[in-house]
């Protein structure tokens, strides 16, 4: 029997073509793994049994008829539960949408379906993608498969955990301030946040519209590239999706990393960074130099303002986006004697503490008398943070940093202090605000055996650079994953 984490996109394809396994058997194998491990991991909230078998049947039929297979034929996938799936419950890990069944597929989901992927189910996350530990799920936290007393990270914790535990070959996640990269780092998998606008957000339940991105988790960079190739590209259903041509990521990833200039911003390595994380990321950067990358020191002077900027803008947008949950059209309704009372009761009963906190903060910074002082000021600082990236990319092809200041922390360790939880997003939110693509790749484990992630940023629409560096690194220093 194949060891639990050994499947890759390319491996699935070869096995199917060689008829070593059928798509149907692959689905059965993954559901059996999920059945045995999900009770302790709580990575999946809903399984997509019927659709997975229907998709597998389509692939097996194509193999039987020796037809050309689509690019992700037979690849078992998990989908974060903030992304709409037709006919399959999409809860956003919230009581508000506990029984919500979308009437349509998100564009990314539709494209994966057409590419032959198999949908195993919907994964746990922080409620409405708000959080960094998956502890804000209304359905209980997901756990880190490498250390069950620790968080898998968040918000896309279930997606990261499912890939790390071999309960999916790859997964869709979403990243607003680090929600793909940080859990990828905590679980020891590859996590890609594409450029803002690279992947259609149609069918993604909105949290902060100027920051939300759909991205992927995978066992390695090549798999991440294969998935992005399918989901990237303009979509008429999303006016913020970019009409920028999609390069051949597979071919781009094969190009050598030698000669690329990598910038290392000094203020990403200061106080607050766990010494073992620093050691592993430093070693990762040294490895990139051995591959022929040229290291350069960088200054990104506005990094220290990123958390404050992010939490003003993201909560402002969230307070507006979440106004739609009013008990009228879908989701939970808690009755009240007047319309307003019904709204209030519904929102009191449907939202968890972190979502309420962000709605409150967002409403406050947008309210009369505070709008300019908080919201507009934060928008101006966002320009400065973006300018840091613009300036840096005049000199370098990519920026390398730690993904998170620490490895996975224990459940309950940070729940009593929301601000402390926010501060842990320090290295990821900068790129989120600038809209540039970022990837987290595993760069070793600390002494306790917890994975550490190295984050790489590239200029807008240059995901290919991330793939080149990530693939070269993973090929040369194949870590045990």
């Amino acid at each position: 029997m194949t060891p639990p984490t050994a499947w890759t996109v390319a491996g699935v394809r070869l096995a199917l073509q060689a008829k070593q396994i059928s798509a149907r058997e692959l689905v059965a194998e993954f559901f059996s793994r999920i059945k045995s491990r999900n009770p302790e991991l709580n990575a999946y909230l809903t399984l997509s049994t019927e659709r997975a078998y229907a998709q597998a049947e389509r692939i097996d039929l194509a193999i039987e008829k020796s037809e050309a297979l689509p690019p992700l034929a037979g690849v078992p996938l998990a989908i974060k539960d903030v992304i709409s799936t037709r006919g399959l419950r999409t809860t956003c890990a919230s009581k508000m949408l506990k029984n919500y069944v979308p009437p349509y597929d998100a564009t990314a989901v539709e494209r994966l379906d057409q590419a032959g992927a198999l949908f195993l189910g919907k994964t746990n996350c922080d409620e409405f993608a708000m959080g960094g530990s998956n502890e804000n799920s209304a359905f209980g936290p997901a756990r880190n498969p490498l250390a069950l007393d620790r968080v898998p990270g968040g918000s896309s914790g279930g997606s990261a955990a499912s890939v790390a535990a071999g309960l999916a070959v790859a997964a869709l996640g979403t990243d607003t301030g680090g929600s793909i990269r940080q859990p990828a780092s905590f679980c020891g998998v590859t996590g890609l946040m594409p450029t803002y606008g690279r992947v259609s957000r149609y069918g993604l339940v909105a949290f902060a519209s100027s920051l939300d991105k759909i991205g992927v988790f995978a066992a390695n960079t090549a798999d991440a590239a294969a998935l992005l190739a399918v989901i990237a590209g303009h979509d008429g259903h999303d006016s913020t999706s970019a009409a920028v041509p999609v390069p051949d990521y597979g071919a781009e990833a094969e190009k050598p990393a030698a000669g690329l200039r990598i910038g290392v911003p000094e203020n990403y390595f200061g106080p607050g960074l766990d010494p073992e994380v620093k050691e592993k990321v430093d070693a990762g950067i040294a490895s990139l130099e051995r591959l022929g990358c040229r290291k350069m020191a960088l200054q990104m002077p506005h990094t220290d303002y990123a958390i404050a900027t992010y939490y003003i803008l993201a909560t402002a947008e969230a307070s507006s986006n979440l106004a739609r949950y009013d008990g009228v059209r879908y989701g939970l309704r808690v009755p009240g004697s007047t319309l307003i009372e019904m709204y209030r009761n519904t929102r009191e009963g449907g939202f968890g503490p972190e979502v309420k906190r962000r709605i409150m903060l967002g409403t406050y910074v947008l309210s009369a008398g505070y709008y300019d002082a908080y919201y507009v000021r934060a928008q101006r600082v966002r320009s400065l943070i973006t300018q840091d990236f613009t300036d840096a990319f005049q000199k370098v092809d990519a920026i390398v940093t730690p993904t998170a200041p620490t490895p996975a922390f224990r459940l309950g360790e940070k729940t009593s202090d929301p601000l402390e939880m926010y501060l842990a997003d320090i290295y990821t939110v900068t790129g989120s605000l600038a809209g540039v693509p970022g990837i987290s790749i595993p760069c070793g484990k600390n002494k306790a055996g917890l994975p550490v992630g190295m984050q790489i940023f590239a200029p807008h629409f240059r995901e290919a650079t991330l793939f080149r560096i990530g693939r070269a690194y993973q090929a040369a220093f194949d870590l045990e994953r």
Partner: protein
């Protein structure tokens, strides 16, 4: 103190959020800490910096492709989802969503 108990009550009203007395106290304290933290943005002189609402038109990348979204043709499409949408409603009376009485007459 950046935010008072009365402010919290007012914000909850604006957001149509029902909050218990205990929640009001907790949020007051937590929001106060967060608002104190974000004060650091006041240290920057941003008088000559444009506010940035989104990244779509940012030319942050020398040589990168322009990501300016194109305006699409205004084409009429069939959108036959009313029944499926209403099926999700907590209280529907097709073709309407029903809510508590708003107007007395």
């Amino acid at each position: 103190m950046k935010i008072s108990r009365e402010d919290v009550v007012k914000v909850a009203e604006l957001a149509h959020l029902g909050l218990s007395a205990a929640e009001i106290d907790t949020y007051r304290e937590q929001l106060d800490r967060i608002l104190t933290y974000v004060e650091k943005l006041k240290k920057l002189d941003v008088s000559k910096v444009e506010p940035m609402a989104h990244v779509l038109h940012v030319a942050a990348t020398p040589g990168a492709e322009e990501s300016h979204p194109e305006l699409r043709e205004d084409t009429l499409l069939v959108c036959d989802v009313a029944e499926r949408v209403l099926a999700q409603a907590p209280d529907a009376q097709p073709p309407f969503f029903r809510v508590p009485r708003v107007i007395d007459r």
